[in-house]
């Protein structure tokens, strides 16, 4: 579903702040795969997701979604096939607009927007059912501005919005990191349910290694703009958080030129 070849992104190219965020990433994600992406700060996880979403032009390489080369397509055109949830719960919804208006905007993703009523009578029933499935009591608050809701409620609505029209890929950028543990758990449950319901091809960035192993069917670890670990299936089932941490420390000491191997040699 996603084919990324030799993807390079350099921020502030040619300045003292030059930062190679992606240095040749190759990644193939099969239809229905749920990939969790981990790595230290600045490893390039979010940059990878944003590159797929089209938030900025890349410096080299190509991105294909469902066989179609989207490398040069602007963000709003790619959005037709992409559902996104951001780390900041405020970023996925329009605060001054009502719950039903936000959902109605999402229900037209990828379709032409004209002069028909934004929220139609028939929509409301669908929205109410979707909101009821969250179990947050939002189904009776269709006309409340989203700004009145908590971060967890807004993130749940953003998830509904990202999936209300089945996207070809779902991009989750640390979407539970800003929530308290209990709410984060609820949002992750909802994520699993929605991904399973529509068998969505998903990329999820997370800082939480336990989360990275418990959810999805494949995990990649990034470091310095590269993918340094890619596990799935049997091999992944055997992995523990400790294994991942060991891997982290290994690459970190590699950077300092003092790997265990060198010391022991």
């Amino acid at each position: 579903m996603i084919q990324i070849e030799g993807l390079v992104k350099i921020f502030h190219r040619g300045s003292v702040n030059e930062n190679v965020a992606l240095s040749g990433v190759d990644l193939h994600v099969a239809d229905g795969d749920f990939v969790t992406v981990i790595g230290s700060n600045g490893a390039g996880k979010s940059t990878l997701l944003n590159a797929v979403a089209g938030a900025f032009p890349v410096d080299a390489g190509s991105i294909r979604i469902d066989g179609r080369d989207v490398t040069r397509l602007p963000e709003h055109v790619r959005a037709r096939h992409i559902g996104r949830v951001f780390q900041d719960p405020l970023k996925g919804t329009a605060a001054s607009m009502t719950i039903e208006e936000n959902l109605a905007i999402a229900a037209r993703r990828g379709l032409r927007r004209g002069l028909a009523p934004g929220v139609r009578g028939g929509d409301r029933e669908e929205f109410r059912a979707l909101l009821a499935s969250l179990g947050l009591g939002l189904e009776n608050r269709l006309k409340d501005p989203v700004g009145l809701l908590s971060g967890g409620q807004r993130q749940s609505i953003t998830l509904l919005m990202a999936t209300i029209r089945r996207p070809k890929i779902l991009l989750l950028d640390e979407h539970t990191a800003a929530l308290d543990p209990k709410t984060a758990h609820l949002v992750m449950d909802l994520t699993d349910r929605l991904v399973e319901r529509d068998r969505l091809t998903t990329l999820m960035v997370t800082h939480n290694m336990e989360q990275a192993l418990r959810h999805g069917n494949r995990t990649i670890m990034m470091h310095r703009g590269r993918i340094i670990l890619d596990v799935s299936g049997e091999e992944r089932r055997g992995l523990t958080v400790k294994d991942l941490l060991d891997k982290f420390h290994e690459v970190r000491t590699d950077d300092e030129g003092l790997s265990d191997r060198m010391l022991l040699a």
Partner: protein
């Protein structure tokens, strides 16, 4: 204040409410402070007046004025989105350019329409004196435009426009090209402002290249007054607030002009200063108050 002055203020309130609706659309809905209006208001007037004095139909002249205003708004949006010029600066550039454009359109600094046919002419002399007729006509136009704007802001396109001002990242992720929505919003806004200018020119019987000075400040004052009076809980409330704000603003000015402080009497030339102070107070006081409250809480 005499009844005659009161009706005059009412007429101005409704006439400039069309402009204030435009300002609301950019300033509040799109979160785009647009000073183009200082140029597009006289542009509407200039195009309309010129068309009429060259023998054109007054209704057509209004349509042409609106189109000219929409183009002006589109230009500002183009500068801000495609050329990435800071929105405020982009609108100032268009505004300055329009001063020259307006002089070109009219060929002179002002045009008198007193002897020309206007859209008001067919309604005059049917039993209603002009100082009652004109406010009614403007109120009707405001009602129609207000309802149309309310309807539009609830369509699929209108929702996308509102979301553009509220959260550009979100609406882009939902597949909307914000360059397009900003262009559409600014064109609609300046179309309304030009409509206001064209109707004002026809009602007061002249178009003047200087008539746009301070338009944005008056528009902001109306929007802010409306929010204070009615609130901005929903689009409908906000729109009613803007119209009410515009009327209250003109009434307040008429009152201020009729008051004397000893030897000092305010004149129309003081209006911009008064309005600016009013807007500063309205925009600045909430921030100052919370600052003071915080200081008191600490002490």
């Amino acid at each position: 204040m005499s009844f005659y002055t009161f009706m005059g203020a009412l007429e101005q309130g409704f006439a400039y409410a069309l402009m204030a609706l435009g300002v609301y659309l950019t300033f509040r809905v799109l979160d785009f402070p647009d000073l183009t209006v200082d140029g597009s208001l006289p542009l509407g007037a200039a195009v309309s007046a010129t068309w009429i004095t060259t023998g054109g139909d007054p209704y057509v002249s209004i349509a042409l004025g609106v189109v000219a205003g929409m183009v002006a708004g589109w230009v500002t949006a183009f500068l801000a989105t495609k050329l990435r010029i800071l929105h405020l600066l982009a609108s100032i550039l268009t505004m300055i350019a329009l001063y020259s454009v307006n002089l070109r359109v009219m060929g002179r600094p002002n045009i008198t329409l007193l002897t020309e046919p206007t859209v008001f002419a067919p309604l005059e002399g049917r039993g209603l004196p002009n100082h009652i007729l004109y406010p009614l006509v403007f109120a009707a136009v405001v009602l129609v435009c207000g309802v149309l704007l309310w309807w539009f802001l609830h369509t699929e396109l209108g929702l996308a426009l509102r979301a553009t001002g509220d959260n550009p990242a979100m609406i882009t992720a939902q597949g909307v090209n914000t360059t397009f929505t900003v262009m559409l919003g600014l064109a609609l806004s300046n179309g309304l402002v030009a409509l206001s200018g064209a109707l004002v020119a026809q009602s007061q019987g002249s178009a003047d290249v200087g008539m746009g000075v301070g338009t944005i400040v008056a528009g902001l004052a109306s929007v802010i007054l409306g929010e204070a009076l009615v609130g901005d809980g929903s689009v409908g409330r906000a729109l009613i607030g803007v119209v009410l704000g515009s009327v209250v603003y003109r009434l307040a000015i008429a009152t201020a002009l009729s008051v004397r402080f000893g030897d000092l009497a305010l004149t129309p030339s003081d209006l911009n200063l008064i309005t600016a102070v009013l807007v500063v107070v309205a925009l600045g006081v909430p921030g100052l108050r919370s600052k003071l409250l915080r200081r008191r809480a600490v002490a």
